[in-house]
């Protein structure tokens, strides 16, 4: 996990953050790069495609990724899904903000299922962009690494009294990752039809 996570976003911290920006549209990429630099975030790598972003990820360890998905609404989530699996989860804990003009239920579920930490809806102002960056950097979520899902823990409720076989942190944890606390209300906040996520957790 990046050493910069869990810290309050300060001007000094901004100068250290390494950002990966995946945005195919040149004008929008220019705008976001300009905004980030004006905010004192100079270490930004811009990628015009998800293929280029994968190459960038091999060369650097960003502290946060901003991924646009308006060119193809499935491409951004697919990239996040694949990126989380690189080198056995090397980027499993990387905070990822998905950028989209659409925030309908389908888009939100796609983002969550792929392992995005946050969804930023366009159009947005510099302040809103900084608020989202601050939120995901200051509040890193526990990471789930399982066969079907790698990314931030999506559950919003935890049942401390749950004693099931797949309770995290107990011996005999299964690895199928398909059952567990949900029956006992741990995943009560999950949207209907959402795949239940695994109980294994790293970090």
């Amino acid at each position: 996990m990046s050493a910069l996570l869990s810290q309050k976003l300060t001007p000094e911290l901004c100068e250290q953050i390494r950002v990966l920006l995946v945005e195919d549209n040149l004008s929008m990429r220019t705008l976001i790069l300009t905004v980030l630099r004006m905010l004192g975030i100079p270490n930004v790598k811009g990628a015009a495609s998800t293929e280029q972003a994968m190459v960038e990820l091999e060369m650097q360890e960003p502290d946060i990724a901003l991924v646009d998905c308006d060119n193809d609404p499935k491409e951004g989530p697919r990239f996040i899904h694949e990126m989380r699996r690189v080198d056995n989860g090397r980027h499993a804990e990387l905070p990822v903000i998905l950028l989209s003009a659409y925030a309908d239920r389908q888009m939100v579920e796609r983002a969550r299922s792929a392992g995005a930490n946050d969804l930023l809806v366009k159009p947005f102002s510099p302040r809103v962009l900084l608020q989202h960056i601050a939120y995901v950097m200051e509040n890193p979520r526990a990471t789930v690494q399982a066969e079907s899902y790698i990314g931030p823990d999506r559950r919003q409720q935890m049942d401390e009294n749950f004693k099931g076989d797949e309770r995290r942190g107990v011996e005999g944890d299964g690895d199928s990752g398909e059952t567990g606390g949900e029956e006992n209300g741990e995943a009560a906040a999950e949207p209907a039809g959402e795949e239940s996520e695994a109980q294994e957790e790293t970090g």
């Binding site: 001007p11 901004c14 300009t34 905010l39 609404p73 809806v121 159009p123 510099p126 900084l130």
Partner: protein, 141 residues
């Protein structure tokens, strides 16, 4: 949400930089957009070319424009693009497309990205957006 005073100063500077950049980026978007629209419409109107790919290109264009135009300050263009995207989502086959309706959206987007919109143009745009939404509602059944 309030930030550290230095970050607040940087935000003010970023807002000014965005305001300065917007016209130039908006112009680039408008030129690119009309070019892609016209090429795609020509492809859809003619028999040659891959009409399925052209339809998907239009969908992408409308989706991107919805988010990007709003960020550059062209809120009306964003609304028209959203309406066009909603219409395109009701289309299953390229043959079902009402080419003139796409042209009307294209022209409305171009007008709404002008430096100044006259009161008459604004009235026409408002009427067009309302009409487009009604059409989408009917097309969606």
């Amino acid at each position: 949400m309030k930030f550290d005073p230095e970050l607040e100063r940087r935000l003010t500077r970023a807002d000014k930089a965005v305001e300065t950049l917007k016209p130039r980026l908006g112009e680039a978007v408008r030129e690119e957009l009309t070019k892609v629209f016209d090429e795609t419409l020509a492809e859809l109107a003619g028999a040659a070319g891959d009409s399925e790919a052209a339809l998907n290109r239009l969908r992408t264009l409308a989706r991107e424009l919805k988010g990007n135009a709003g960020t550059y300050g062209y809120e009306i263009a964003s609304v028209v693009a959203d309406s066009l995207h909603a219409y395109l989502e009701t289309i299953e086959e390229p043959d079902d497309l009402a080419i003139q309706l796409i042209r009307d959206h294209r022209n409305s987007i171009e007008v709404s990205m002008s430096e100044e919109i006259s009161a008459e143009d604004q009235k026409h745009l408002d009427e067009f957006i309302a009409l487009s939404r009604e059409l989408v509602k009917r097309a969606a059944g």
